[in-house]
Amino acid sequence: MSLPASILNQDPSAPGADMSRRSFLRTSAVLASGLAALAASLSPLRELDDQLSLERFVQKYYKELTPDEMAQVLKRIEREVEKEYGIRPHVRDLKPMDGVEFVYALNLTRCIGCRKCVHACVEENNQSRTPEIQYIRVLRMPHGSLDIEKAEHNYAPESVPEKGYFYMPVQCQQCKNPPCVKVCPVHATWQETDGITVVDYDWCIGCRYCEAACPYWARRFNFTRPSIPKERINPEMAYLGNRPRRMGVMEKCHFCIQRTRVGRYPACLEVCPAGARKFGNILDPSSEVAYILRTKRVFIQLKEDLGTSPRFFYYFDV
């Protein structure tokens, strides 16, 4: 239209032919203000300063990293965390143990709906406090029903448990056949041999396909920059676990990889005042979870009909 026309006027065969002083100033003013507007509109990118370092940009895929390269990556993460939070963390890359497959069992008879697991998880896994990211959602349903679509998760009574209701905490079910892994276009999430589906926060492009694919609403997206108070940082970190995340990446429950892969129980289990949560190695016949699956009325894998085959079981005492 008009703007290109005035620029095109500068025909090389007749230099300055139509270029009056006025049109030169005019064109310059248009160009200058246009460029300024462009620069101003891109200014939010300035806030991304520490969001992309060259080191991370050229980092290789997790499974292709040699141990030396991994050590470098872990050092970089420690440096970044220290810069941002002023705490030197201990970041490890923990591999799955041989002969171990994790299974979680949750006793619906015992759960009182106190939500302590939710907050112990946030604390352990360095989740953002504002905005709030929580891996566990506790659903309240009336006795005699199991309609998850109609479940209430904003209940706030003076005291739990309430008469006539039961509570069902839902988190990542660590499926044997995980839909979230299938849809990831960049293989930033995968299932490990101990059954934990992990996310590489450095590889995730934030497309949120996995969030859409998950039938359990278990995946959480960092829509804004996560914020954690310095004094609440858990310095014991794992690469595929609770190291701080960035804006624009997906995260979810990973069975507290930084604890369970060194033999400890997950944080949500240890805080449960009612002892409703049980965790262990299903390949070990003497483990609690093996005992429960053998002897208890294990009634569901949640949404079992979808064929996702969760490693998270709900059971009753009686």
Binding site: A5, D11, R26, A36, P142, K150, R264
Partner: protein, 223 residues
Amino acid sequence: MAGDPLTDRKPANDKTAWALRGLVVLFGVLTAAFLLNLWGRSVPLRPIPLVDPSFLDTATVRRSYANLVQAKEDLSDFDCYVCHEKNKPPVLRYDAKQNLIIPPEHSDIVMGHGEHGRNNNCFNCHNETNLEQLQTRDGRVVKFQDSPQLCGSCHGPTFEDWEAGAHGRISGYWDRKLGPFKRQDCVNCHNPHSPKFPGRKPAPGPHLLRGWFKPSATAATGH
């Protein structure tokens, strides 16, 4: 020069000039707007209050006799013979409805073990000949530290679950080769005189990114 139709036609050129002036003004306004960040400025998130540390506490609901011994704490509550007389079993008194009359010295005890007040005899569990010990119904004497044995003498299936780690609280290491684990006793959660697990205030529910949920009053009845 003749190749450029816009400069050839006077009226069109005029229009161009006006359009350009308009554009300059528009761009100027846009620049000012962008520089002052008049729109697209992210509304600061309302800070969500940090959760009360009591909700992160992994301590048990109660402390057992064994805990008190271990922590070398005051055990005077278990020093029965400061008041009671040795070799003289205390006499239990009942009202007309066969409810135990609790003496004022034991007013902290709520008799709530079992339905309908049927479990109303102290010596169902306490040893009348030695009050500093417990006893099962079949006469086995149990120390206070070993109270799960007493509980298990009636609650067999639950005791079995507890031994297998399927009932009650556990902490520490799931991999017993890598570290210790701790299994809590029955009385760490259950008050033996009133064993129903107490209710408590729930931790705050989820918050939205912007705005707040309205906690719905009792939502649906489910029928």
